[in-house]
């Protein structure tokens, strides 16, 4: 795995691992089976300073970076990718406000997001398509009191638990006649905002995903996050950095889980009188898992380090997201092969790893879109 962590990052990882082994690992299977998001744990992570870890101290964060946030999500995902994506989504709301919000918005909401006094959500994807970002039907219309929001979003994580929501929607057209997006902040308890249908997902259970509906949601004039008309930029920056590094961290956590479970099972399971790990074909599987994990870790933390030193990392993170999420699926599948019949028994976590890895792929942009971004950057 990536070796160039500093002392604080190493201690952070070991501390988060201790917390995860205590609060997450024992319940991960249950959350998956019951499709339950452990909302009460947000506060525990908040108290430990693990939410909004990239937010500067004046707003209640630890003043660290994307790297530290990825470490947290990776450690959680080793046991519960579902809960990890719930935390990740909360962070998206935090990141959007931190990177694009007004001073008033930051002061009002960042401290509360960091402690999980409010849980955050980010609603971008519409029924017309997630990939087709700017083609949104949601409208943000100015009126005498501010703005009115109307629309419906789909595949939104934290749909039923978020207190503080950020929505993107069309706020006008630009000079070329193309739709312009804006992002708005919807404070907790604002009338007209509700969660609709709850999706029954194949994987990443342990997070709640569903529709969010805005019907005549009246917002004040200062509800715009960032600048009016700049909503697409906010969405792309937030999802491009914080979303995709998050999903990559989750995939890396799953990859590590596959490495460890394959070794554990391989050492214990006796066949032809010896442990499985003595068989070359099984060793090949273990090697492939290890290689995938090493590559994912190095690629992810290289990219987060680049962002943390102040550079744009969207194309890089698209490549990382593509690679790590696809590898997680392959790794989980081959770990199941190693386990033979036991691989399809739900008492073991590996089936869940596969389902979580699959569900992770269309999040934040499909693998096909990731390639479009990477090629687009290379061919510029």
């Amino acid at each position: 795995m990536f070796e160039f962590f500093n002392e604080d990052q190493k201690m952070l990882r070991s501390v988060v691992r201790e917390l995860v082994e205590k609060e997450v690992a024992p319940h991960a299977a249950k959350w998956d089976e019951e499709d339950k998001c452990p909302v009460e744990l947000f506060k525990v992570f908040g108290e430990q300073g693990l939410l909004g870890i990239f937010v500067s101290p004046e707003y209640g964060g630890a003043g660290l970076g994307l790297t530290e946030r990825a470490i947290v999500l990776e450690e959680v995902a080793r046991y519960s990718a579902g809960f990890s994506i719930a935390l990740m989504t909360h962070d998206l709301c935090t990141a959007a406000i931190y990177n694009h919000g007004t001073e008033e918005q930051k002061k009002a909401w960042l401290p509360k997001l960091c402690t999980a006094e409010v849980i955050g959500g980010l609603s971008v994807t519409e029924p017309t398509g997630g990939s087709d970002l700017t083609n949104q039907a949601t409208t943000i219309e100015a009126n005498e009191n501010g703005y009115v929001l109307n629309g419906r979003k789909v595949f939104i994580t934290n749909s039923h638990i978020a207190d503080l929501n950020i929505w993107t929607g069309t706020s006008g057209v630009n000079a070329k006649g193309r739709k312009e997006l804006s992002a708005v902040l919807i404070p907790p308890g604002t009338p007209g905002l509700s969660a609709g249908r709850k999706e029954n997902k194949l994987g990443l259970r342990g997070s709640v995903t569903g529709d969010t509906i805005a019907k005549d949601v009246q917002l004040s004039a200062d509800a715009i996050v960032g600048k009016e008309g700049k909503g697409a930029g906010l969405a792309l920056h937030t999802i491009g950095h914080f979303g995709r590094s998050g999903m990559s961290a989750i995939a890396t956590g799953i990859l590590r889980g596959c490495v460890e479970e394959a070794v554990k099972f391989g050492n214990e399971r006796l066949i032809y009188g010896k442990p499985l790990t003595k068989i070359p074909a099984m060793q090949a599987i273990i090697a492939e898992n290890q290689i995938a994990f090493e590559a994912a870790s190095a690629m992810l933390y290289n990219a987060t380090a680049i962002y943390d030193r102040g550079e744009d990392a969207i194309a890089r993170l698209a490549a990382v997201k593509y690679f790590t999420t696809e590898e997680a699926v392959s790794s989980a599948r081959r770990t199941m092969d190693l386990m033979g019949g036991y691989g399809v028994i739900n008492e073991y976590p590996v089936g869940r790893f596969l389902r979580d890895a699959l569900a992770n792929i269309p999040s934040g942009g499909t693998s096909q879109i990731m390639k479009v971004i990477v090629a687009g950057n290379v061919l510029r």
Binding site: A29, K264, E268, R269, Y342, E347
Partner: protein, 330 residues
Amino acid sequence: MDISAYKGIHVFCEISKGNIIENSLELLGEATVLKSKIAHTPEVTAVVIGYALDQYTDLLAEHGADRIVLIDDKKYQDYRPDFYAEALAQTAKKYLPEILLVGATLKGEEIGPTTAMMLHTGMAAHCVELNIREDGQFVQVVPAFGGKVLGDILCPNFRPQMASMKAGLSSKVTFKGKEAVVESFSPDVKGFGDKIEIVEVIEETKEKITLGGAELVITGGFGIGTQEGWYKLEQLATKLGGVTGCTRPALDEGWTEHDETMIGTSGVAIKPKVYLGFGISGAAHHTCGIKTAGTIISVNKDPNAPIFDVSDYKVVGDWEKIVEALIQVL
């Protein structure tokens, strides 16, 4: 310190709920064994600290004490570690034993090292074995790293050589009709004076044990066959003072409802001193939960059952007959 002046084996005999504890009687037995292996056949002395102690002398003599020293005073009625340790140390200073044994109980663990400090001597704790080497040297065997390593400890230059042992590691020896010399001793014990005050002594009844902390676990697998069979296992567990764990088949069959006691990958991993498995085949997902158990004894009628590869003791037979026999014998 003139080593040769120290002769005799002292055993601190602890009282709990009005009785001399089994651990102390076992240590007396151990002392008699050591006595027989030491060239000068040292005297075995039981040292008792407490209040109204005459009632114990017959019992102690019968269990091997040649001499009984009673430190009998109201000040020892309730436990103060400083008083007990000092009284034991004063006794050693008076009688100069070469070996002093203490039970590794919660009190013993405290009294022992304190006394050792007062006597400027060494103590080996939680010994699993005590031996006399061919050269006459007293050897204490202690475990480390959860029992992965065993080591010999010697105390060549200081006396008394102190050691503690937990209950169940040595055996009582009875000497019917044996008599002992009984002496009263009233050392001047000050301890920490009024710096320690006893406020309240609370006696509690034993609490329920959960699987995680249980020292003896019995588990049944598919081979148990019936609910009635399962109840027999639970009966045996009660007799042994252990806890019943289960495997998935037992849960699926509905013989037990306690899914928190399922042992295996998705259940609990346990580290009991003793694991007894009946009718368990030994599927990987179960056996990984018992890998670090102390001693594993398995009973199964299939001589090739995988469970035997990970067991210390293998019994090929009808589990029900064995369980019934165990219940009988206990």
